[in-house]
Symmetry: C2
Subunit: 527 residues, 2 copies
Amino acid sequence: MSSADLTGELFLAGDRRDGGSSALLHSHDPRSGERLEPGYRAAAPEDIAAACAAAAESFASYRAVPVERRAEFLRRIAEEIEGDASRIIARGVTETGLPEARLKGEVGRTAGQLRLFADLIVDGRPADVRIDHADESGPELRSQTVGIGPVAVFAASNFPLAFSVAGGDTASALAAGCPVVVKAHEAHLGVSELVAAAVVRAVRASDVPAGVFSMVVGEGREVGQALVKDEHIRAVGFTGSQAVGLAIVASAAERTEPIPVYAEMSSVNPCFVLSHALEQRAEEIASAFVDSLTLGAGQFCTNPGLLVLPKGAAADRFIAAASERLRASPPQTMLSARIHRSFEEDVAARASHSDLTTLVGPTMEKTGGPHEASGSLFATDAALFLRRPELQNEVFGPSGVVVQCDSEAELESVATALSGQLTASLHADPGDEAMVRRLLPRIESVVGRLIFNAWPTGVRVCDAMVHGGPFPATSAPGTTSVGARAIDRFLRPVSYQGFPGWALPDVLRDEHVVAWPRRVDGDNLVP
Amino acid sequence: MSSADLTGELFLAGDRRDGGSSALLHSHDPRSGERLEPGYRAAAPEDIAAACAAAAESFASYRAVPVERRAEFLRRIAEEIEGDASRIIARGVTETGLPEARLKGEVGRTAGQLRLFADLIVDGRPADVRIDHADESGPELRSQTVGIGPVAVFAASNFPLAFSVAGGDTASALAAGCPVVVKAHEAHLGVSELVAAAVVRAVRASDVPAGVFSMVVGEGREVGQALVKDEHIRAVGFTGSQAVGLAIVASAAERTEPIPVYAEMSSVNPCFVLSHALEQRAEEIASAFVDSLTLGAGQFCTNPGLLVLPKGAAADRFIAAASERLRASPPQTMLSARIHRSFEEDVAARASHSDLTTLVGPTMEKTGGPHEASGSLFATDAALFLRRPELQNEVFGPSGVVVQCDSEAELESVATALSGQLTASLHADPGDEAMVRRLLPRIESVVGRLIFNAWPTGVRVCDAMVHGGPFPATSAPGTTSVGARAIDRFLRPVSYQGFPGWALPDVLRDEHVVAWPRRVDGDNLVP
């Protein structure tokens, strides 16, 4: 696509506007390092304040929009993105180096997420309607959930659509009745502009208030802090590194008014291969492990960065097969120069770590552009791993650590020593049942999603998905950033006591509540 | 009762133990100021650490206790408290000055809360079971909620049972599968010991791990901070003043690992009397207002501290009637010397505030003990109120402010200017419908509970209750500390992907899920 289609402007409550700061940001083609036009002027503090004030102003009318019309708005965003998919995908390939098929898939997922939340709010389950009629214990109470208020969304680099401008955080916040101010990710500014334009077209077509959506651009430290600290913001959604996530949590803690920060940060997604499975399928599991490790150049929050297995001949077969397959994996372009630099530094640290053995070192040869990364694999013993908490740190990219255990007790100790994770996987065959039962409670206590005989990459967007987990995987383990439950982050309950029907909100009136799942006088009812 | 029944010890994981600090705390009889025996040694840092470590240690086994047995444990706590009710109530009267009938009611409420959560977890709704079978979009996923981990509970002074050692926070956390470490309130140490002993008897009788319950005593600054910052603690429940609540939020923010703080802090619970209702029922409303304002010496979070009405002849009738009734209200003993001192200071500040007119000043004459408080009532104009944010500050005790508005627009402006509240009430008669509709969206956006033609004191414990609200009413507006939803604060979702039946947790197996409300492949189902 031609960069002439892009204006380099921000979106403030429906209007395109140049950022008020002098800083000019550019995306780059990571395949060549080439700087891409147009430049985007970073938002000035006044821009952030204006976007947040417009969000707050629009909140009163947007929250009153009936769910059916809010659902139409979400579906319209999906259509507008799909309608501009060819331009979005073309720009996405240029800005991220990701293959066209992946970006096409992401358009589908992004549209699918918007439609999931549209269906969900019409279905009524997130409203959590409860009615207790008056009895000797007290007066009638009717409750539902309402939007929490304007939400700040920080776009991620690694899902330029599904976790970005109109990704899961934005979709779930808008579905909840909350206006959104997005901070675009600087690695894909053009895609962000195209997607923001699609959202703004949907805003106009759906006759929802213009302030429900703004998108700003700028360096995280200034623009991000201003956004998190703005008095109108009531919640923050973030996906990215632990360092930035914790900085956002810290900024939020400086506010007078505490607000929730839903930061999805870092995870090494441990995979446990139990002895019978290892014995039976060492080569098959090794091969699938490497495919998951290198998928998308390893740039997934669910990348399997840690593999734990019992030491022995089968482990040697596993290591040989995994090493061979990894050496045969072609280098891949990473998303940005910054991510690539961090990856190379992290891998170099692993290569020189006294407690790690290099199984497959990074190849320095580049077959393509300057930001290609090759996979690497390291090994250590459980006893060393248990003494070195830094070996649990996420390396963002295709680099894994194999932890070899001398005994089942040691394998259990590794499971017990894990910090919070998005996922953990178990590979088990007949004969491994007892060990599965031993490990499960320990693993469950530190993860959001447990996986059986499969790999963590690939996140299904559905009711039962949990993409969350204890710290440091996220800052809010009670929540998920993917799947239907994500909307709960942006809702709060409100109760109406003793109100006559005419004064109740529509969805709490008797004629409406029967259309939704609800709890009435202690009974769970469905339509 | 005789203080000989009390030992002055803490409870650490089921064992009575003297606190390790040299500080000795005593409760006092607020009716006489008399110091009560025994003294309680404050917890030393090692005591806190031991209690939290025991909680963490017990978490693994307690979370695996089936809900039916967990429910039995909660019911047993209720029985143990009821079985010792006469001693608890007698000591409560001595420590709090509250009437026996009130404390008797609180025993009932506390037991009722425990049984509500017992019924709720057996009913299965909080588990939020979701199943998505495998299809073209991905593998099978089954999810439920599990306990978040050890919870620190800070007991409140004003509900020595229902918001204290075995109050709503403790009951909902234990129901969620979370061990609890309670910091007792220093104003009712004897009641705390008796209730803690009841909990510990239930722990033993129910064969749940001893570490699920500990109770410590000490000054908030040291003991409270150590508790909030302990690495094992995963969530905090607090009810009390805004200053202490914010200090706890700030302490939690200093942790490496962010944890949620559910602090219920301050609210003035505005009551709007609309013109037709005021015209028709000025005297009746005035009388009910004063009764709610002075109930329990005004020491409720839901005390109606702010009354907003249209200026005019009817307002004059309201003020005359309210003033007369308030002057006729007998002084009441407050809960503690500290609360009484704060109340007197706050009322003195109101009496000398240039923008407040004193309608009923505090009487200095004491008919009884040293900590009696008499009610006071002040008036101001909306224009002044809107310029003076400090007039929204909660005064804990029987003191109210009447805000008189020149127009309906001004009344709406007052509603719009409100900070976050637990409740807001509307008093309306035929003819007031249009004004109700204008005010509702504004009020809903700042409160947890809206009340029609009734008063905020009195909180029904049920599914639809919301005792929460935007800051500064609470630090977490997405939650409630009273009612069934309170359990959600201490749960987090976990998803199982592709697991065979034998490896699934019991409650996610097909034969169990049919007994609970659940969502399967997008359909809401109930048993």
